[in-house]
Symmetry: C2
Subunit: 244 residues, 2 copies
């Protein structure tokens, strides 16, 4: 279609990087692109922590489950949902700040939109990226390490660098499972999942050298048959977020 | 830097479109790009409703506060956070589905990452976009209109079409307000907000022909001095989401 769409379609997560640092120009392009993303009513309810200090990166890697690529990429950004700055602006104007589930959604979405622009900008320069949701494993320790104030939470990290591997894009759910016309059709989605299970069964077998006999539904069931990161709500409460 | 970064940096929301429809190839490129975005552990916890039926678009425009550009663009997509498909896959494997605030975040983020790729893809083809958060104004009616099942909620709409206006990008907060090195520095952010207030005061005055005497902090305070969309939590509860 065009080179931008080709770029978007060729995305794959990179989990092995060379040790090459990013240039200040590259970092500036990534951050400026992030800031140019859409934001709800211009509230810009997110912040970015650029982690450059090796000791902090090492500790982040440990907290995220010892992922070498958290520590060893050219750049590590933590995208945070941020209502702190907005509360400060509101109170500085002599008003009382109101928050709820809606403002939590706004801040979380703003962080994600900015991050995806950062990811696309990085990939346009030939860099690779990987989102690091596992910084939420020990979200309280991560937040203290980065000295996040009340009303700021780390949504995910983004590790960016020069790729030292060339994986293929992973197959996605077929369109029928994800895209609906006018109204949501559960049966259509279920049929799409069934078709995807066959695709992914083959994909997993090829990748695992025939050892893994599973499919997408099974991998989802294995993940969600027990609570994942059950500490999240109590962390957010302690961090000052109100989900009412 | 490069054409992709130039594209990202030139983003501005479009709120007036020609009546030109999108071609099937354009729609396919937008949706495929959305699906190529990163997703937490490949869970792909989002769905897209492509609203093509004029009566549904008209009703959506009314529910979103009569925004003509919801009704009159070439394409209207509703991005939904979707745990329904994941629960179905889990239960079909004979397991009990567990959800909490963490899975709510995952689904919301997945919807946002996909949407931002869709926005970038559209803009790469010379189209304009505007995120429509106001579909959350009457989120219950919107969800019934689109027949969203339990565990699916509409995060925002994305209206896409051929621009019939050429606004300039809106200034963003200075980097010092948004980007921190290693640790979050509230004073640095506050200084950045103060600088931005001056920029935006001038920007608002220019745009409003000298009538508006306000700044960013004031606009934020006006928004957050009262609860915004206070119905969100009870809607999500009724839709089956558990935020514990």
């Amino acid at each position: 279609m065009n080179p931008v769409i080709d770029l978007l379609k060729s995305h794959r997560s990179i989990r092995k990087f060379t040790s090459q640092a990013l240039s200040p120009e590259q970092i500036d392009a990534i951050v400026t692109s992030a800031q140019a993303a859409s934001t709800s009513s211009n509230v810009q309810a997110y912040s970015i922590i650029a982690v450059t200090e090796p000791a902090i990166r090492l500790e982040l890697a440990r907290l995220a489950g010892s992922q070498a690529y958290v520590e060893q990429s050219g750049l590590f950004l933590v995208f945070c949902a941020d209502l702190h700055r907005i509360r400060q602006a509101t109170e500085q104007q002599g008003e009382t700040f109101h928050q709820n589930t809606e403002s939590f959604i706004v801040a979380t979405v703003d962080a994600a939109l900015a991050a995806q622009n950062a990811a696309v900008a990085a990939e346009s320069m030939g860099l690779g990226v990987c989102y690091i949701g596992s910084i939420r494993n020990e979200i309280d320790s991560v937040s203290r390490l980065l000295r996040l104030p009340e009303l700021v939470y780390p949504v995910f990290g983004l590790t960016i660098g020069v790729p030292d591997q060339a994986p293929s894009p992973r197959p996605r759910l077929p369109k029928q499972a994800v895209v609906h016309e006018n109204t949501y059709k559960p049966e259509q989605a279920a049929a799409g999942v069934q078709a995807y299970d066959e695709v992914m069964s083959e994909y997993y077998q090829t990748r695992a050298g025939g050892k893994a006999v599973t499919n997408w539904s099974r991998s989802i069931a294995d993940k969600y048959r027990k609570p994942v990161r059950a500490h999240m709500r109590s962390f957010l409460d302690a961090q000052g977020f109100r989900l009412d």
